[in-house]
């Protein structure tokens, strides 16, 4: 089961479109919907999709609450893959749950 959760059973949203974020570089066991290849990379929030039950809990038949805000985060392909062969402008959009995101400063 997946699905949109009631806002009153969810973690407050920390991010909004335009925010710079980085994906946690973590490797916990279990059912993780954050692709391995994107962990540790910086991107920009492009859509805040609202709260959804946490799939890491749903996978073990638990309710997945409190729900986690889900975002669509845009990454530059060139930043993700050092050997990327396409255009500099090419991008990659991924849905990532809030607990996998941290604020990224404007530095670097």
């Amino acid at each position: 089961m997946t699905g949109r959760a009631a806002a009153n059973a969810s973690v407050p949203a920390r991010f909004k479109p335009g925010d710079a974020v980085s994906v946690r570089r973590a490797h916990p066991p279990g059912h993780i919907r954050t692709p391995w290849y994107i962990r540790g990379h910086r991107g920009t929030v492009v859509h805040a999709l609202g709260p959804f039950a946490n799939p890491e809990e749903l996978a073990y038949n638990r309710p997945g609450l409190p729900a986690q805000p889900l975002y669509r985060v845009r990454f530059r392909q060139r930043e993700v893959w050092p050997d990327y062969a396409g255009s500099d402008a090419d991008t990659l959009d991924i849905e990532i749950f809030q607990h996998w995101l941290e604020p990224a400063g404007s530095g670097r």
């Binding site: 997946t2 949109r4 290849y37 392909q77 062969a85 396409g86 090419d90 991008t91 991924i94």
Partner: protein, 219 residues
């Protein structure tokens, strides 16, 4: 390569009186795998306990088989011809496709639009998430490790293998379908279709164009 008679034969069909034998190829459907056995066991238990009936399972299979790319093509063609519908589709795909009797269930439909500046393509690197409610069952290649791993890393090379060459100045945007959204690509409407109705336009919209590995057909 397109000519089946182009490759060298080491036998001559016309001079042989007897048929040549190919080595027998084993059937691939004569043994059940672990998950097939588990599926049958769970299904029989659910029926045995009266939780679902065989009829309900059959109807669910028929409903899945009845959904296909024709439905997605109708949605795209309407978006091309009805600006108000397109605006609703882009703002909230899940709600807009209710017009076509589509219930997205626990997932949500997220429509991404191809433009002169951006070409979108969809993949699910983690498994095989696919907008089944509007496109039916995914093609086998969509579930292959080859597509799933390469579409994010070298999308332009993958697109080229589908015959889809995206100009260098156009952004290729890959969508990795990792969670609750299901993605439908709204292709660019082909030139030379002014005045076409939605039914005729729908014939130009292929499944692959709605995954984003192809463009809409040219009229």
């Amino acid at each position: 390569m397109n000519d089946p008679h182009d490759h060298a034969h080491d036998h001559d069909h016309h001079d042989h009186a007897h048929p040549h034998r190919h080595p027998p190829r084993p059937d691939t459907d004569d043994t059940l795998g672990h998950f097939q056995i588990m599926e049958i066991a769970v299904r029989e238990l659910l029926i045995g306990k009266g939780i679902v009936s065989p009829d309900e399972i059959q109807r669910a299979i028929e409903a899945m088989d009845a959904r296909g790319e024709a439905l997605g093509a109708k949605i795209v063609a309407r978006a091309w011809t009805d600006p108000a519908f397109k605006a609703r589709l882009m703002a909230d795909g899940t709600e807009a496709v209710r017009d076509f009797g589509v219930d997205m269930g626990t997932t949500r439909l997220f429509v991404v639009e191809n433009t002169p500046a951006v070409h979108n393509v969809v993949v699910c690197t983690l498994c095989s998430c696919y907008p089944r409610m509007v496109l039916g069952l995914p093609p086998d290649w969509y579930k292959s490790r080859n597509y799933r791993s390469r579409a994010v890393h070298e999308p332009r090379a993958v697109l080229q293998e589908f015959g889809t060459i995206v100009p260098a100045e156009k952004e290729v945007r890959v969508h990795d379908s990792t969670a609750d959204m299901r993605y439908l690509v709204l292709p660019e409407r082909p030139a030379g279709t002014d005045g076409w109705g939605a039914d005729k336009l729908a014939t130009l919209v292929s499944r692959d164009a709605m995954i984003g590995v192809a463009f809409a057909r040219q009229p």
